[in-house]
């Protein structure tokens, strides 16, 4: 072998190429990481894990279920109790998904959920089929689940420590109040109340009771919202002047046209009890299964879905009650006899709200919170927080873009280390998890962070976390994340939106007196309950 220069070049020439490619790859990657790390360090955003709750020790908490419909069944699953029918359905769905090569994890998620130290001991449902299903599925040889005819019987039996209320809205407050007066702990679905008067009565009842009260806004357990809170607190967004939240659904289930059970009839349903305080009308299956469509029992978009968005943001921003509300909309997509609007736009005004400012003091103050909803379109519009320095998209994922006119980031924008179209922060705890979402409605909730959250990369049902927190507080004391103050604000702001839509005028809040500013000659509660003329 002759060591000529030509030989060396042809033999060893590839080494510097290898070195160059290696260096370029390493330098580029490490450099980008470093840049990112520097930016994050500057922003100082630290996703915080929820504090672990103390264990629910001792004897199992004896739980009674009031209302065992769609939501009632879901809540029971979060407590670790699934019906035989649901398990059979999920096994079928899992087999189908497997055949089609789709991920489907509902059953697996349910089975891997940590057990809670509770026992379902009682059930209350005015529909025999529902009540019997619970008794059959949840009874064990040692412990038969008892069916009670009324919630009062159950609460006063002395056999239940806590109740879970998943009934139509007009029953939420009367049942909660009855339980609290008997020092029975309460987990109640949203909206917390159906009228203004009830909202005050319930607040009083909580204040005078030894029992623990939690409103079912499970998203308060979602990790991305805790991160969002940190981001806003650190002033990354600057002054937030506008928040836009949305509902877009375009399917029967999303428009509350739930299935009507074939065995439903006046013999199997205690219609009198279902009606309660609602106007007396003859037996009506449509009203029974699809009660969300009438003001007599529900409150449509404002009570059902706006409350989720309002509370999501109230959890992040703690903005409290709006000073005023204006709403408009109509029944435009489902003219099927309902009397709640299916297209609704609500503007909440918070004139004193401030998230900190990067500009001259006192230049910025005040914020509008917009809720825009249609049940006739399924396009996914994200929740956006619009600040002077940055915009944030908030859901289960979280993304922040710097604003081209930002004061805080002016230098970085000019030097090119930030660009308005490029996110400066992205938080996606689901990146390393495979999600099997089955329906449009569950996708709607999942995208909003309302169904589950991620802890250490593992998917966890947020309702499970929310109920676990409630049970832990029952046993160990402490505070729940959605207690009476949060519930009061959620319910009142929803009622203000409903009133504004019904009256076609601005509804104002008096923060000193903690009342809706009275309108002469108008009984606000009567308006809230009445069926608008011309529809329904």
């Amino acid at each position: 072998m002759s060591w000529t220069r030509r030989e060396a070049l042809l033999g060893l020439g590839s080494i510097p190429i290898l070195g160059a490619v290696w260096w370029a790859g390493a330098y580029g990657t490490v450099g980008k990481k470093r840049e990112q790390a520097a930016l994050l360090e500057q922003l100082n955003i630290k996703p915080s894990l929820p504090s672990p709750v103390p264990a629910i020790s001792g004897e199992p908490v004896r739980v009674g279920i009031i209302g065992f419909g769609i939501r009632g069944e879901q809540l029971c699953r979060s407590l670790g109790y699934a019906t035989d029918e649901w398990i059979a359905d999920m096994e079928k769905a899992a087999a189908r998904a497997k055949k089609e090569g789709r991920p489907f994890t509902a059953l697996e998620d349910f089975r891997s959920q940590d057990p809670l130290n509770i026992r379902i001991v009682g059930i209350c449902d005015v529909f025999d089929i529902h009540a019997e299903k619970a008794v059959r599925s949840f009874s064990t040889p040692e412990q038969a689940v008892k069916r009670y005819t009324t919630h009062t019987d159950m609460i006063r039996s002395g056999d239940v420590d806590a109740v879970v209320i998943a009934t139509p809205d007009h029953w939420h407050a009367p049942m909660s109040i009855e339980a609290l007066r008997n020092n029975v702990h309460v987990y109640v679905e949203k909206p917390m109340t159906h009228t203004l008067a009830e909202t005050y009565q319930l607040r009083e009842a909580v204040r005078n009771s030894k029992a623990v009260f939690q409103v079912g806004h499970q998203h308060r357990q979602t990790l991305s919202f805790k991160t969002a809170q940190d981001i806003v607190d650190k002033g990354v967004l600057g002054h937030v002047s506008l928040i836009t939240t949305n509902t877009n659904r375009n399917d029967d289930n999303g428009a509350w046209n739930y299935d009507i059970h074939p065995d439903a009839n006046p013999e199997t349903i205690d219609w009198e009890q279902f009606l309660g305080s609602a106007p007396e009308i003859p037996f009506n299956k449509n009203h029974f299964f699809r009660w969300r469509k009438w003001w007599a029992y529900g409150s449509g978009l404002s009570g059902d879905l706006l409350t989720h968005d309002y509370d999501r943001l109230n959890c992040v921003l703690k903005m409290g009650m709006p000073r005023s509300v204006m709403a408009s909309g109509g029944i435009y997509t489902h003219r099927d006899g309902r009397n709640v609007p299916d297209v609704l736009q609500v503007n909440f005004e918070f004139p004193d709200f401030n998230t900190g400012s990067s500009q001259t003091p006192n230049k910025e103050r005040g914020m509008t919170f917009t809720y825009s909803a249609s049940l006739g379109n399924g396009f996914n519009r994200p929740t956006m927080l619009m600040g002077h320095d940055a915009s944030m998209e908030l859901g289960n994922r979280l993304t922040i873009w710097p604003d081209s006119g930002s004061t805080r980031f002016a230098k970085q924008l000019e030097s090119g280390s930030m660009a308005p179209q490029t996110p400066i922060y992205r938080y996606d705890p689901s990146e390393t998890a495979l999600d099997g979402v089955s329906s449009a409605t569950s996708q709607y909730f999942a995208d909003k962070g309302l169904m589950w959250t991620y802890i250490d990369g593992k998917r966890v049902d947020s309702t499970f976390l929310h109920m676990r927190e409630w049970l832990s507080v029952i046993r160990n004391g402490g505070n729940v994340s959605c207690g009476i103050q949060e519930g009061f604000e959620e319910a009142m702001s929803a009622h203000m939106a409903g009133l504004s839509w019904k009256l076609g005028r601005r509804i104002e809040w008096d923060p000193q007196e903690e009342v809706i500013v009275p309108i002469e000659g108008v009984d606000l509660d009567a308006v809230l309950l009445e069926s608008p003329s011309g529809v329904g």
Binding site: L12, S14, L18, K33, E431
Partner: protein, 164 residues
Amino acid sequence: MSSTSNKWGLKQSITLLRILIGWHFLYEGIVKVYNPDWTSFGYLATAQGPLKPVFQALTSEAVLPWVDTLNWAALVFVGITLLMGLFERAGALVGVGLLLMYYLAHPSWPGMAQINTEGSYWIVNKNLIEAVACLVLFYYPTGNVFGLSRFFSKNKATSKTELS
């Protein structure tokens, strides 16, 4: 004369092809080595086509770290062998295997969603072309034209006909 110069051109072209493919593999490997957050999860989890269950099975918690490590190790191995012109036939073969797997995880067949592709493809895409190019490198080693094999080959490219 013309036939000799053609062969010389072919040899040079394939050598160049080898360098470029080695370059590409090495860079893809190195970028992953130096990024601890990198994972093949997304690519595998969104797999399509007949082998979808196989690729999705690789995303299980127990297997994924091995898949990730094997992937970057294989990329770097192909990169180094092709660039250096040493064990290049083994490298080319591993390259064919890797590229066929990438291709089958997201085949550019009609009716399948094209994810993260910068061009338009029908059945044939760049992964498939690069796989065939690696096949050429396997059958036509050029390490003794440019590369470390020169020092181990008795039959150096001094003669202009050695590859005929």
